[in-house]
Symmetry: C2
Subunit: 237 residues, 2 copies
DNA sequence: ATTATCTATAGATCTATAGATAATGC
DNA sequence: ATTATCTATAGATCTATAGATAATGC
């Protein structure tokens, strides 16, 4: 039974989840079978099935972790006004969470097709995230850090979400798995933040606007993506 | 023997590709086996393997179609200046192509991991598309329809690409497969164009800017996505 | 007594090939 | 002769369970 009651942190159930997450992220959910997970942990397949009904059950539980993480970050503080540092914190935290569960968005469509209940929870999650994100943007607007109509804000929020959720997949499409070392990954993750900052840039005002150049600079450090544009665009004329 | 030489249009080889594309898009590549394709066509599995080495070979050939389609659209006319209608034409054509091969981006990471050669061709494709897209944006800038620095243009181009390539996946995550009728699909595809227009909006000038409201109106007709924001955001105060 | 684990395996697929047969083009 | 197709199947997995055994908590 997939109760939410957790045993001691090093319990077999927890270890299965840890191992599954690691293998899923590294090799893709599709390429990791229940046998692989059991073998990775040095337990029997039977034991794994004692703790989880099936693979979808493991995925479902991993989604719960990820969902709680993201929802937890996207809170607007009630006791003070938002700053542009807050805004950067949101971007970093969420992209980090995405990266930690990148297997999920990579195989999203199959995972949702396979488990109707997960699809419902995922839809609710997207809706909630978009709403919480919109609150954040509205908070930034109230703080004078952003200027946009309600309509513009909603479109911006959807675009922010789509890019955030797709960024790890985009990176995986470009970098072959054997080259996905931790360092490179981190650089590309920062490029994702750069892209999100550029997305917001036209609407930024006040402090957020005056720090724009500095922030862009900070997150484009690696300049890894510029490879994509080959030699066509001279850096400075 | 994956030669590019094609037999008569209704040849078995072509029929296999058609059937595979249709089934892949409808059910996901992962859920469609070579046996399913053969059965769908009423031919034997053996026959299918006579025409294609394996499933990856079929996918590879489908990618060729898709790639040629997209690359063909993204040409800047040399004999005249770009108009904002051209720009909308690009968006429509490319999202249409994406939709036609939506299975591809849905299972992208697995397909690329499975076929090293496909990964290389895909990377070249992305690079070429970003460059051609950049040419288009530069053309719009020369025509006075868009104002942005080179740096802004490159970031815009990457964001445009990520959203374009991810949009169908985003839609699939929200709409359960049994509800994905042709009509709904088309509405959501138009919402994708709306999102792309909003992405470009801050940089538009001249005719492109003055037609902005009209264009937004045209593509948000269904207002399907607004469901995501529940009742939180009043349409007009 | 209950919880955790293992061994062994049935059943379900899927892939891809070998070998036979039919259809077609000279 | 060559091209296209079919039948039948070996081999490779993977899932998920049954049934036995070990460990643990009272």
């Amino acid at each position: 039974m997939t109760t939410t009651a957790r045993k001691s942190p090093g319990s077999t159930r927890e270890r299965i989840l840890d191992s599954a997450l690691r293998l899923f992220n590294a090799q893709g959910e599709r390429n990791v079978t229940t046998n692989h997970i059991a073998e990775d942990l040095g337990i029997s397949p039977g034991n794994l099935y004692y703790h989880f009904r099936n693979k979808a059950d493991i995925v479902s539980e991993l989604f719960n972790h990820y969902e709680a993480l993201v929802s937890g970050f996207l809170q607007v503080p009630e006791d003070r006004v938002l700053t542009w540092q807050d805004k950067m914190g949101y971007l970093e935290s969420i992209l980090d969470s995405m990266w930690g569960a990148r297997f999920f968005h990579r195989d999203l469509s199959h995972l949702l097709n396979q488990d109707e209940d997960l699809r419902l929870r995922y839809n609710a999650f997207v809706q909630r995230t978009l709403e919480q994100g919109l609150r954040v943007y509205e908070g930034l607007r109230s703080a004078g850090l952003l200027e946009a109509t309600d309509e513009e804000l909603r479109a911006l929020m959807v675009n922010t979400w789509v890019i955030t959720a797709s960024w790890t997949g985009f990176v995986h499409g470009l970098v072959p798995p054997e080259k996905q070392q931790e360092s490179l990954d981190h650089t590309l993750l920062r490029q994702g933040i750069y892209q999100l900052v550029c997305l917001e840039a036209p609407y930024l005002r006040g402090d957020a606007a005056s720090h724009l150049a500095e922030i862009k600079q900070r997150y484009s450090a690696g300049d890894t993506l510029s490879v994509l544009f080959s030699a066509a665009t001279p850096k400075s004329a």
